[in-house]
Amino acid sequence: MPRIRVEVDGATYEDEVEPRLLLVHYLRERLGKVGTPVGCDTSNCGACTVLMDGMSVKSCSVLAVQADGSDVTTVEGLGIDGTPHPMQRAFHEEHALQCGYCTPGMIMASLDLLRENADPSEEEVRDGLEGNLCRCTGYQNIVKAVRRAAGEMRDPAEQEVTP
């Protein structure tokens, strides 16, 4: 069995895995990182979205062996010392979740979206989240939350640039 070394949410893991083991199952069943759920088997729903080396991926469509040497961030790795990440906070503030099953993936996809576009329009947010399905919210508040988080995340950045 191949041996992999992965950093997940700041901790390093080394494991022997079956080649066919999906990254999401590795996270959930081997590492106990059950914060990332599985919602489909065709990579449509996006519930399992995590960041791999900073970029969003659907962890049901990546093999654990493919993540060898990578740095994986899940929803559990966001925030510092129990303080939620601005994106998490915005989802709460804007009531951008109901059942919450899509939320981890939605949050991770939203972070990826802001990595490339710090100030997205409503339409850009909608397009950017095309790969993440939610059945509860009708997306309206998700869009609001992402734009709110974008605003909050831009501010500290601006402060850094203009000391």
Binding site: P2, E18, P19, R20, L22, H25, D41, T42, S43, N44, G46, T49, M52, M55, S56, V57, K58, C60, S61, V62, L63, V65, Q66, A109, D112, L113, D127, G128, E130, G131, N132
Partner: protein, 285 residues
Amino acid sequence: MIPATFDYTRPASVDDAVRALSDAGEDAKVLAGGQSLMPLLRMRLAYPDALIDVGRIGALREIRDEGDALVIGAMATHHEVIRDPLVREHLPLIARATETVADPAVRHRGTFGGSMAHADPAGDLPAVALALDAVFLVRSVRGEREIPAADFFVDWMTSAMEPDELLVGVRVPKLGSGWGVHYEKFHRTAQAWAIVGVACAVRRNGDGVEEARVALTNMGPAPVRASAVETAVSGRPASEDVFRTAAAQAAAGTEPPADLHGSSEYRAHLATVLTARALSAATGA
């Protein structure tokens, strides 16, 4: 669902990869970005004996300028292709069409070459390759060969590559100046496959059309060039009327599939409407 077992190798070079592919036999599959293969594995519609993961071969990821053409490494991700300055400058049609592929997370993993080798008639990129007269660079232990796009897409999810061959890159001639491009994708939801897509490149000469390339997505078991349309617009004024008349022949000679998402008849109709729109968009008419 869960994939069945398979062996896994991760060669470090193209040479190693083709050797591994040759050794593994015909039931081995190349794992590129895996964004089409993984669902098939998970649904157990595919049972490869072995996966040869070419994801770590840096050389396959390069996009380089060869003067009158770009060579896009097979493992360049959709994400990289969309943002590549060379692609954006010389082959904007590829960038445009790639933006419509799946969703951002899939585009981070999915690769240019993988989409081509998968040869899905509903995939957006094969028609683009066909429209741009791309040439597929294929390697095996037996050597290297080049397959023109017109010969590469053989049938429903079937390319001209042999089981022991690896797609290493795609050489796409630059369009040069005077060309306008557009990819018109028609689908019911953002994530859905194209019911029909039209890849279009038009070179204008003043108010007229000098040359046009039109290729259709999902209008048959493989992408097709709408050559009747190309001929009909060449040398004519770039006007909506001309485009509409020419596009009426878009479906000529095609065998569009009938499936849940559209009947053959509807696809044939769509091809005409979308082709006219693509021509207009490409020429700014």
